[in-house]
Structures are given as C-alpha cells and as structure tokens.
C-alpha cells in the first residue's frame, strides 16, 4: 500500500447512480488531493450535484466506491459523511439566521460540559466556542463587523464566509463548496475566492462546483468535466485551454 506517494484523500471509483430511468452517473471516477482545489464542471443536469450528494451522504451510490485516504468508506448519511471528515457547503448555507457566528459554528457539536451528562443536558461553554470561532475566522482572514450579532444582520459574502469557515473547522479531509459565489457580487466573490485559496494553502482538499470560468482558471489546480453523467475530461485549466474546457462542458467538438 506504500507503493506510490500518499493516496488521494478522496477517491471515487466507477460511480454509478440511477434515478428510475435517468442514468445520473455513468462510471465516474475522480481523485482529490490535499492542498488542491478540484473544480467540478458541467452544465445543469450533468451530474455534478448527484456526485456531490453521493460523496456527502445524501444519496447512496448504486455501484462503485468512495475511498478516503485509500480506505473504503461507507457513507450512508450526511452525518456519517461529516464524521468521516467530509464537510459540504450547499447553496442554502445551512446557517441559523437567529444565531451569532460562533453559535453557528458549533451548532449541533457544541462544546459543553460535564461529559457524563447526555449531550442535550450539558451546559454550554460559550466563551470557549467564541474564542475558537474567533481564532478560526482570524486565521482565515474573515472580517466580520460584529461577532455578537445574529448572522441575519450580515451580508451574503459574510454569511458565505461563515459557512465555509465552519466547514473547514470540522472537515478533516475534504471541503465541498457548491457554487459558493453564485449569489454574490463581484467584491464579495473576491473575498470568498481568497478564502478558498487560503483553505488550499492550509492543506485542505477543496472540491469546488462553479459555473464561473474565470474562477476556475484562477483557482482550480485540476478540473473534472461531467456531461450527461459521464466524465468527459480532466485537465489543468488555464487561459490557453479555456475554450477546450467550455467545449467539453457544452459538448461541442473543439
């Protein structure tokens, strides 16, 4: 098992998924490595979301397997995926508008004591959670105007940053970002892109779904293109092959 270098942190082998008559994934394989941004590209209905949902435990694969650090992982629910170290930030962000950033960070995995009580009956360590969350945001250079206000009062970019930062705290292996800049303006997108670069610099494996070619060329170390459930290409995106990439996505011959 030590033949080559470290195995990829995430590997999908020969994934197949059908929804009734729809063949959503046809023999898709891909790998993601630490310290790398992998772009997952494709037109609407190409199978990106299905693939991501299989990796994050929302759907189960019909055939094929998912390996984490070279070992087969059984990911049968979102919480199992989370326990395995895979964090996914969907477009709805799954934030609690009525809670502060730190409360959002730890919602569902609160730091609390004493350990002998059932989880729900433990007492919150509010200060510890505030401190940890502040440290993470500082490290990721996310500036929030207020730390004690509910996230309802924060902008789209700030909310996105909070959701991404929360994912990175708990993602021991992979962070999946589903169109993180789709709802944002230019300046706010900029900050989220910087944040993604920061995640990579810290050694996370980032899987990025986006429709924005500029972002792909700027950030992605590799791009995997899906079309009609098949993997139709994999390359290192740059200015020179941008047209080729777009051609793969829409299915036109280059």
């Amino acid at each position: 098992m030590r033949a080559s270098a470290a195995p990829p942190v995430l590997a999908v082998h020969h994934a197949q998924k059908r929804f009734g008559a729809v063949h959503a994934l046809r023999d898709v394989s891909l790998e993601a490595h630490r310290g790398e941004v992998l772009a997952l590209l494709g037109d609407n209905g190409a199978g990106k979301s299905t693939l991501v949902k299989c990796i994050s435990g929302v759907h189960a694969l019909d055939e094929g397997e998912i390996l984490l650090d070279g070992e087969a992982a059984s990911i049968h629910s979102p919480s199992a995926a989370r326990r395995a170290g895979i964090e996914t930030v969907y477009q709805d962000l799954a934030l609690f508008d009525n809670l502060t950033p730190a409360q959002n960070f730890y919602c569902g995995r609160e730091i609390a004591f004493p350990a002998w009580l059932p989880r729900g009956l433990r007492f919150l360590s509010g200060r510890a959670m505030d401190r940890e969350a502040a440290a993470v945001l500082e490290r990721l250079r996310v500036n929030l105007p207020r730390f004690d206000a509910p996230v309802a009062l924060m902008s789209g970019g700030q909310r996105q940053a909070i959701a991404v930062a929360r994912a990175t705290v708990f993602a021991r292996k992979v962070v999946i970002l589903d169109e993180p800049t789709a709802a944002l303006g230019v300046r706010e997108s900029r900050r989220v892109l910087d944040l993604i670069a920061q995640l990579r610099a810290e050694g996370n494996a980032v899987v990025l779904i986006t429709h924005n070619m500029e972002h792909v060329i700027e950030l992605a170390d590799r791009a995997v293109v899906l079309r009609q459930g098949r993997k139709v290409g994999e390359l290192k995106p740059n200015r020179a092959n941008q047209q080729e990439l777009v051609g793969m996505i829409v299915g036109a011959e280059a």
Partner: protein, 346 residues
C-alpha cells in the same frame, strides 16, 4: 426621551459598530420596546387611578398573572421552535379535575400535585409524539385536537359539576397565601422562569431549540436530534400547564373543567406581545413574563376603571396587532442592515 439617549449610548457594545446606527438603534428600541410600554402603561394607569400601585392591588395583579406567566413560559419554548400549543388551557382544566378526583380519594398534597403535573406532561408528550412521528406539517391541528379531547375528558370526569370544591391545605397555601408580603404564586413563577431561563440559554438543549426554530432544515443537516427536541419541548409546555393547574386550583381551592378557558390565547398573546417572534427562533423568557404582566396590568386597570370587560378583549387584541407589526418591522430593518452591510464591504 431619556430612554432614547440611554439606548444610544449602550448600542456600540463590543466590536466595531456597524454603519447605519439609526437602524441598529431602532432594532435596540424594538427589543426593549415591550418593557418600555409596560412601564409607560403603569405610569399612565397610576395617574388615572391611584389605587393601582397600592401593595394590595399589586399582589392581586401578581396572583392573577401567575397562571398566565407560568404557562406562557412553556408556550414561549414551543413558539421558539416555530410551533404553537393550543392545548394548554384545556390540559390545565383536565389536570385540576384529575387532581380533584385524586383529592377525593386521598387528602395528600403530594399525590394531588403529582397527578396534575403528570396530566400536563402526558398531554404534552402526546402532542409532541403525534406531531413529530405523525409527520404533521404543523402542530396547530394536533394541539387543537388535544384541546378538544382534554376539555371533553375534563367535563366527563367531573360529571355534572362545574366546580369540585376542596384542595389539600399545602396547595391552597401555595396558590392563595403570601410570604414576606409577596404572594406565594410569585415564587412559583420565579422558579419556573429561572429554570426555563437556564435550560434555554445555558444548556445545549436550549441552543437546539433556537436552532430548530431558526432553520429546521439546517438543524437536521447539522445533526441536531430535531425529533427529540420537539417532543421534549411540548412535554415541558404540558408540564408548565400542570404547574399552572396546581397554582390555580390552590388559589381557588377547587378544580373545574371550565378552568383555563382561552388560556392558550392569553399565553400566545403574552409571548408575542412580550416581543418574541411568531416566526420562531427569537425570544426569551423575559418576553413571556413582560407580556403576561402586560395582559395582567391591562385587565386589572380596566377593572379598576370600571371599563366594560369587552374592552379588555379589544385592547389586548389591538396590542397583539401592534406586537406582530413590530416583529415585521424588525425583520424589515434587519434586511436593510444586511443590504447596508453588503454595500459597505471594503
């Protein structure tokens, strides 16, 4: 006017202040609004009728408000989860009747109290279990059903009696008498409020309540045991109705299937008037207490002023409209603050 300047000086607590201080000031004012209105209301009523602030009358208000406040403490937890509990008044009545039946068999304050608390807890558990495991879209219907069932059972069990006289001494002392010049029921309210406060604000369970009310889908995604949280919340609401039953049965030294009529509306009104959000996820026990007190004060004042009882209902209805409007205004202001935040991002 003085309150205005005070709140302005408090507002930039912790961290750099947000731009748009007018909006954040307005949000602050909205959050302490109900308390200000209560104080203002008390001052106006004092001018109209000097009897209002006499200790005996204040004791009256506390005694009359206690039941609403206790049951509203449970209702506020339910509303925090985006729910509603319509059964509290009827389950309170059923609890007093079952307590009354137990009293006929055994003159034991302990047994009677336990019977009432267990009745409330059971009704709450049924509400929660049917709501969650019946996969109902909203708790309105199931708690409406238990309202009807409990009222019917209470009438059935009390065969022909609209009141069943008699309660163990300890319970009447709790409901009726005073210690250190303060009605004992006040201490019950205080105890319930303190426990609810700790559970909601200091314990993981409370954080989950806010999470479920704030974003139910996200709560599931984040691995919060949503079903257990909901069932336990309705159980606590039922338990509060049971505690209210003990206090009311004690105050009247009787039980009745007619007790708690429209109490569900009073408690919901208290929580909303107090400033909690009907949309869930926002509010605290202080809102329930201030709202309950406001209802108690208005009823008391209109009594003192010999105003027709119908006007009490109209007045409370009007205040509910204002409170809900304030909630809408708050959401609007928050959206404005969010837009401003996005525009000012460097």
């Amino acid at each position: 006017m003085r309150e205005r300047t005070n709140t302005a000086s408090i507002s930039p607590t912790g961290g750099p202040a947000v731009g748009g201080s007018a909006i954040s000031l307005a949000l602050r004012l909205l959050s302490i609004g109900p308390l200000l209105i209560l104080i203002l209301l008390a001052a106006v009523i004092r001018l109209l009728t000097p009897n209002f602030l006499k200790p005996a009358n204040l004791g009256n208000i506390v005694a009359q408000t206690a039941v609403i406040a206790i049951v509203a403490a449970g209702q506020h937890l339910v509303i925090l989860t985006r729910g509603i509990d319509l059964s509290v008044g009827a389950s309170l009545a059923l609890a007093t009747v079952i307590g009354g039946l137990v009293f006929r068999v055994a003159d034991s304050a302990l047994l009677v109290t336990l019977a009432m608390l267990l009745t409330g807890l059971t009704v709450g558990a049924i509400n929660g279990i049917v709501y969650v495991f019946g996969r109902l879209p909203h708790p309105f219907i199931v708690t409406l059903a238990t309202l009807s069932i409990c009222r019917g059972l209470a009438l059935e069990f009390s065969i022909g009696h609209t009141t069943m006289r008699g309660m163990p001494d300890a319970i009447t002392v709790l409901g009726e008498s005073s210690s250190f010049g303060i009605p004992n029921s006040f201490f019950v309210v205080f105890g319930v409020a303190a426990i609810v406060l700790v559970m909601a604000k200091a314990m993981v369970w409370g954080r989950w309540i806010y999470a479920v009310g704030g974003a139910p889908e996200a709560a599931l995604e984040m691995g919060i045991p949503v079903k257990a949280v909901l069932v336990s919340t309705y159980m606590i609401s039922g338990l509060c109705a049971g505690i209210g039953a003990v206090v009311l049965a004690g105050r009247t030294a009787a039980s009745s299937p007619l007790y708690g009529n429209l109490l569900e509306l009073d408690t919901i009104a208290a929580v909303i008037i107090g400033g909690a959000s009907f949309l869930g996820g926002r509010g605290h026990i202080g809102h329930a207490l201030v709202g309950a007190l406001m209802i108690g004060v208005i009823r008391n004042a209109l009594n003192l002023l010999n105003v027709d009882v119908f006007f009490q209902m109209i007045a409370i209805g009007l205040i509910i409209v204002v409170a809900v409007q304030a909630d809408v205004l708050r959401n609007h202001l928050e959206a404005r603050a969010r837009a401003r935040e996005a525009a000012s991002t460097p």
